[in-house]
């Protein structure tokens, strides 16, 4: 494990608190404190920077296998590293679907070979995401990929009996079902949030109730069978209320929100530019404010990017023809700073919790999301909160050019990312991947 070298990070504000030095050796933080020195270590001047535990994304579409034209594990994890992530959960809607041990092991191996971040495959709940019968959840859990998060993301596990069984079954290996909450009948042909804007634009609506009714059902199911439930990409004020209620009752539910739902609204759809087409859809300003409040008070546990790259032809078309989804890995932290930190709703220690500690805990990632202290795995992200940059999708590492933030000036820039003690990003640009043999 010594091939990654040793680094002395000088003067970073730890999770936004007091400045300290971190000595990184052999993949771990060997010392943390003031005025550290280490002969032979590469010094990284972190004056003015904030050190966060490496970001962990519970919701990433890496598209491989099957849609390598949209993204690969290599390009997606390069984007992750640049965004400050040291672990991503690769969603199961690849082709073939990640519904067998073979596919999740393939994705896991691709991640190790790439070396830019830890790739944790998410297993499908049902065979082929078809919602008809359970995939081999146990085999995926026992595989080398060690799957703990299962999701049919993109599709809702709509059948209540199947959902109940899945929630029960994964208890055998401490798994969690991550639900894409979308009542299918209420959203047939849906193109955007149903409300004032859809009425004017003449687009089939995706009503908030289609999300909220599934969440209400599933928190009650989780309570009934005493299982862990995670709600993907919560997008409505009503959903926040239901989850808050469920948590007050002690139900084991966790929830995520995407960066884009913390900022953008369905007003943007008036442009008919499909870069704003996403599922769940952009909602209203009231929803945005409720999501921010829910994230600030802990009702919503984590940020999940729902990074969803698409080839340009999937967006250069009519709205109704366009694919749903936005890229997000390389803008997530900046959007979070803009919407939550710079607005005074949360501090950087909260950022560390919602981007790293909580998602690592939900995904049962042993070596991620640890406090930046001696003995922890050296997964570290250094952020310059004073930097500002303008989003240029063409300059991103992801293959996807579908960033809804294109042209916007954002605060905060990832300066360095250390993955298992190895700098995948230095000075804001890709450095090198963790050598595969180092593991």
């Amino acid at each position: 494990m010594s091939t990654t070298g040793s680094y002395l990070i000088k003067g970073a504000r730890i999770a936004g608190g007091d400045a300290a030095d971190l000595l990184v050796e052999n993949g771990f933080i060997s010392a943390a404190g003031t005025s550290l020195s280490a002969a032979g270590a590469t010094v990284v001047d972190a004056d003015g920077l904030i050190a966060l535990p490496g970001l962990v994304d519970l919701h990433t579409h890496l598209r491989e296998p099957g849609r390598e034209d949209a993204e690969t594990v290599e390009t997606g994890t390069r984007a992750a590293a640049l965004g400050g992530f040291t672990a991503v959960h690769a969603m199961a809607n690849s082709s073939p679907v990640a519904d067998t041990a073979g596919v999740v092991e393939q994705v896991h191996t691709l991640g190790r070979q790439a070396g830019w971040a830890e790739v944790r495959p998410v297993g499908a709940v049902t065979v082929g995401l078809a919602g008809e019968r359970l995939a081999e959840l146990g085999a995926m859990a026992d595989s080398r990929a060690g799957v703990r998060v299962f999701s049919d993301d993109g599709m809702c596990v709509w059948d209540p009996v199947l959902m109940r069984r899945a929630l029960e079954y994964v208890k055998a290996f401490d798994g969690v079902i991550a639900q894409h909450a979308q009542e299918p009948r209420l959203t047939e042909g849906a193109q955007m949030n149903e409300g004032a804007v859809s009425a004017v634009l003449g687009m089939t609506g995706w009503p908030a109730v289609a999300e909220e009714s599934i969440i209400a059902r599933d928190v009650l199911l989780a309570q009934h069978v005493d299982s862990r439930l995670h709600i993907c990409h919560v997008s409505t004020a009503g959903s926040v209320e239901i989850i808050r209620w469920a948590k007050q009752r002690g139900i084991k539910v966790t929830a995520e929100v995407t960066p884009h739902h913390l900022w953008l609204t369905d007003e943007l759809v008036r442009s008919y530019d499909p870069v704003f087409k996403v599922n769940p859809p952009l909602r209203t300003n009231d929803d945005v404010l409720a999501l921010r409040a829910g994230l600030a008070d802990g009702t919503i546990d984590v940020i999940g990017t729902d990074h969803a790259p698409h080839p340009s032809e999937a967006k250069e078309c009519e709205w109704a023809q366009a694919a749903m989804g936005m890229t997000g890995l390389e803008t997530a932290l900046s959007v979070l700073q803009h919407t939550m930190v710079d607005t005074g709703l949360i501090g950087w220690s909260d950022v560390a919790r919602i981007t790293s500690a909580r998602p690592a805990r939900i995904g049962r990632l042993a070596h991620q999301g640890q406090p930046l202290a001696a003995g922890s795995a050296a997964n570290i992200t250094l952020v310059d909160p004073a930097a500002r940059w303008t989003v240029d999708p063409a300059a991103m590492a992801t293959k996807g050019r579908n960033s809804p933030f294109a042209g916007r000036e954002l605060p905060g820039r990832v300066v360095a990312t250390f993955f298992k003690g190895h700098p995948t990003v230095l000075e804001g640009t890709l450095n090198s991947p963790l050598p595969a043999e180092a593991e």
């Binding site: 687009m203 442009s271 008919y272």
Partner: protein, 345 residues
């Protein structure tokens, strides 16, 4: 104004100018030689991704009467059905030198996309997009209403708006691009609008619209509307549970013989019955209503050509007064126009 995408974009001055220009165009249509040289050498492409013979031939007649070269490009039977994208189609038309693209599309927003994507620099005219808008239909409806409104008030229609007029739009508002375009334009022109429909066929979000909403057609008729616009209702909506049966729909929201008689009973002599066509006789409108002297269905068709001539002419000549300073090519007839008896029926 470069494109005609939505009636929401039209100022009152622009709308009145289109209607006034359409009056001049209507005079051309009444001449023996129904042709003006105004758009000679310009190319208008009718790009239709959805079948609509009546709208297509109306635009075709309009462009030809202005001496434009017309290319009809139907998505069916063309490269579009082989999977060519809107982008490639647009760039192809641009390479061929199209000056205007009249686009009909099943997807809401496709004309906006065409106009704003940078794929083509032509003027884009929305000839109906999904359930979004159909601005030239609304303009021809307003033109028809304005003529009737002027006739009742004993004035000339040129230069006037629809202030004080009461319009009821009845039927499948949810899926109607005609209703949306009409609402924005009628409000701009000063009319009051009531939307009448079963609650299932009204969009969530209609509370924000500048109109009154009613579930009761009889009550709306009793309030004395000056125009009642019946919208086409697709019988298949029944299968998606928007209403229980076509019979029940007709009984509650159709313009049937009983309601035709009610207009007389209420003393509403000037009230017109409109329909954008094609009609489902016996469903949203009875034959007696459709064929009654109150019906403006055929006037609407005739006026459609004049209004589309006006729109193409103003867009391609840059002639909107809001684009200040542009000199308009003369459209006045060189020979004395044939006197006409064009009156409202």
């Amino acid at each position: 104004m470069k494109h005609l995408l939505s009636t929401q974009d039209l100022t009152k001055a622009d709308a009145v100018q289109i209607l006034d220009t359409a009056e001049e165009m209507a005079a051309v249509s009444d001449r023996e030689v129904k042709k003006l040289p105004a758009l000679r050498g310009r190319t208008v492409v009718n790009l239709f991704f959805e079948d609509s013979t009546r709208t297509r031939i109306s635009f075709e007649a309009a462009a030809k009467r202005l001496s434009a070269d017309v290319i009809n490009f139907a998505a069916k039977g063309s490269s579009v059905s082989k999977g060519e994208s809107l982008k490639d189609t647009a760039q192809t038309l641009a390479a061929m030198g199209a000056d205007a693209v009249v686009i009909r599309h099943w997807a809401s927003g496709a004309p906006v996309r065409l106009a704003t994507s940078g794929w083509i620099d032509a003027a884009v005219v929305n000839a109906g997009d999904g359930t979004h808008e159909h601005p030239t239909q609304a303009l021809l409806d307003a033109f028809t209403m304005r003529r009737n409104w002027a006739r009742i008030n004993g004035t000339a229609s040129a230069g006037t708006d629809l202030a004080g007029m009461k319009v009821a739009i009845v039927g499948d508002i949810l899926h109607s691009r005609v209703a949306r375009s009409n609402l924005w334009l009628l409000r701009t022109l000063g009319a009051e609008v009531t939307m009448v429909a079963p609650p299932t066929l009204l969009p969530v979000g209609i509370a924000d619209w500048p109109c009154t909403v009613s579930y009761d057609l009889d009550e709306t008729l009793a309030k004395g509307p000056d125009a009642v616009m019946m919208l086409r209702v697709q019988g298949e909506r029944m299968n998606a549970a928007y209403f229980p049966s076509t019979r029940e729909y007709s009984r509650l929201w159709g313009f049937d013989d009983r309601r035709l008689a009610a207009l007389d009973e209420h003393g509403l002599d000037g009230t017109i019955i409109m329909h954008p066509g094609p009609m489902n006789r016996g469903l949203e409108i009875s034959s007696a209503a459709a064929d009654s002297p109150r019906s403006t269905v055929l006037q609407q068709v005739r006026n459609g050509v004049s209004v589309r001539m006006a729109a193409l002419y103003l867009l391609l000549s840059g002639g909107f007064r809001s684009n200040a300073g542009t000199a308009l090519p003369d459209i006045r007839p060189t020979a004395a126009p044939v006197p006409t008896k064009e009156t409202a029926s």
